[in-house]
């Protein structure tokens, strides 16, 4: 699979992109929706190489840790500091997001309570089975890649009659914010790179409205350098031909219909919900929450949490604008000074998929 990563194919693809870009109105601005694409673009120095070829890459909202509003983090802090005998289980980066109440990592849990870092939604469920005397709350943030497994765990808990397990779910679906971005018209874009692994689950159909209603090009792309460049070539070809589509340039992993088993689990356990995204605000049907039958497993209902309060970011952080593609991290006065991966001031510097973190980490990557 060397051709996916080696420099020779990178440069051959860049030449092709350069030639294609000459034939279309400039500037060509492609939003890479997914944080993992942002990583590929920066780690391999593609950002500047692409700029030289006439393509501006804009980071999108595709980092679940980043777009989860602080209200969720504050609710998690409230739970673990305010309730005794509660284990708050979550992914590692979630514990580091700074809020006005500090971060989960530095919160002082109530007696018998603790914060536990997990790698898979299976761990908190196993923990709940083991620790029958304690409540286990899984604070899970994710897109369609992670959502089916979280849904599966709620179903398993209910089927096995586990009463001490609940999910504080920050579950986000990718197509609705893309509509919001296009409808707002806030930024000029030429095309989307759709996230490969989200699409491996949901399939191509959920993006069809983007080509149909907005006449807007897009391509599903994988995560190696050549994958990203092949996706951009497809977007350019769509612009040139005047035939916008939902192209799939990641066929080795993405089936047109997605993953039917994963989609079925989501449909069975979860309902769409109007949800608030950091930076993007309230977006109709952009999140998922457990169905009524699962109310006992929904931490919001179980503990009467209020996610409408306390959603403010730390002063000065422009993560919200970064997530809308409105601002580069370097436009933030705190970037690399008051805000670094060791002492982040916003979630975009916490997550390894966050645009601020990625830019900070790879700021010295020279191309060539």
């Amino acid at each position: 699979m060397d051709l996916l990563t080696d420099k020779k194919s990178t440069f051959a693809l860049l030449r092709k992109i350069e030639a294609l870009a000459r034939g279309v109105p400039s500037p060509v601005r492609v939003m890479e929706v997914c944080g993992t694409h942002t990583m590929t673009v920066h780690r391999h120095g593609l950002k500047s190489l692409l700029r030289e070829a006439g393509i501006e890459m804009i980071s999108g909202p595709g980092c679940p840790v980043c777009i989860t509003p602080n209200a969720f983090h504050e609710a998690a802090i409230e739970l673990v500091t305010g309730r005794e005998g509660l284990i708050l289980a979550t992914f590692g980066d979630m514990t580091r997001v700074p809020t006005r109440r500090g971060a989960l990592r530095t919160a002082i849990p109530a007696p018998g309570s603790s914060v536990r870092i997990v790698y898979s939604p299976e761990e908190p469920l196993a923990l709940a089975a083991r620790e029958s005397g304690r409540e286990v709350v899984f604070f899970g943030a994710g897109f369609e890649t992670t959502i089916p497994s979280i849904a599966l765990m709620a179903r398993k808990a209910r089927r096995t009659g586990l009463r001490n397990f609940a999910v504080l779910s920050a579950l986000w679906t990718i197509p609705p914010p893309l509509r919001a971005i296009l409808e707002s018209g806030e930024i000029r874009l030429s095309g989307f790179l759709y996230p490969g692994h989200v699409t491996a689950v949901i399939g191509l159909a959920p993006y069809a409205f983007i080509a149909r209603e907005f006449g807007f090009p897009g391509a599903v792309a994988g995560f190696e350098p050549a994958d990203v460049l092949l996706g951009i070539i497809s977007v350019l070809e769509q612009i040139r031909s005047g035939r916008p589509a939902v192209a799939n340039t990641y066929g080795r992993v993405v089936r047109p219909e997605g993953n039917p088993a994963a989609r079925a689990v989501m449909d069975e356990i979860l309902d769409p919900d109007d949800s608030r995204w950091r930076g993007l605000g309230l977006i109709p049907r952009s999140g998922l929450r457990l169905k009524r039958d699962y109310a006992d497993y929904d931490a919001v209902r179980k503990y009467g949490l209020d996610l409408a309060v306390g959603a403010e970011d730390l002063p000065g952080c422009r993560c919200g604008e970064v997530l809308r593609g409105m601002s580069e991290p370097t436009n933030c006065r705190l970037f690399g000074r008051a805000c670094t991966p060791d002492s982040p001031r916003g979630p975009c510097m916490v997550s390894f998929e966050g645009a601020c973190f990625v830019l900070f980490k790879y700021r010295d990557v020279a191309h060539g």
């Binding site: 996916l4 440069f11 051959a12 030449r15 993992t36 890649t145 497994s149 092949l230 080795r252």
Partner: protein
């Protein structure tokens, strides 16, 4: 959270739901509950402990063929290092 790259299934229990993948030489516990029908030796994409997609070798070969064509037509210096 996400291994991101295709990994190979090296262990699978009788239910077909639980097993291990090889991630850079380490065996990592993985659930296949979302991907029924996979078998030992299949390559899959894993997110947060769950396999979500199987690698299609035919499609992978097509992508490589396309890349090879683009490299050959690009006029990049003729050298075959990196070509499988």
């Amino acid at each position: 959270m996400c291994l991101g790259i295709p990994v190979k299934i090296v262990e699978l229990d009788a239910s077909g739901e639980l097993g291990k993948v090889d991630y850079l030489g380490t065996k990592v516990q993985t659930s296949f509950a979302l991907l029924p029908g996979v078998g030992l030796g299949d390559w899959v994409i894993v997110h947060a402990g769950f396999a979500i997609s199987r690698l299609d070798e035919e499609e992978a070969r097509e992508t490589l063929a396309l890349l090879r064509e683009i490299v050959e037509n690009s006029g990049e210096p003729e050298e075959t290092a990196g070509l499988p």
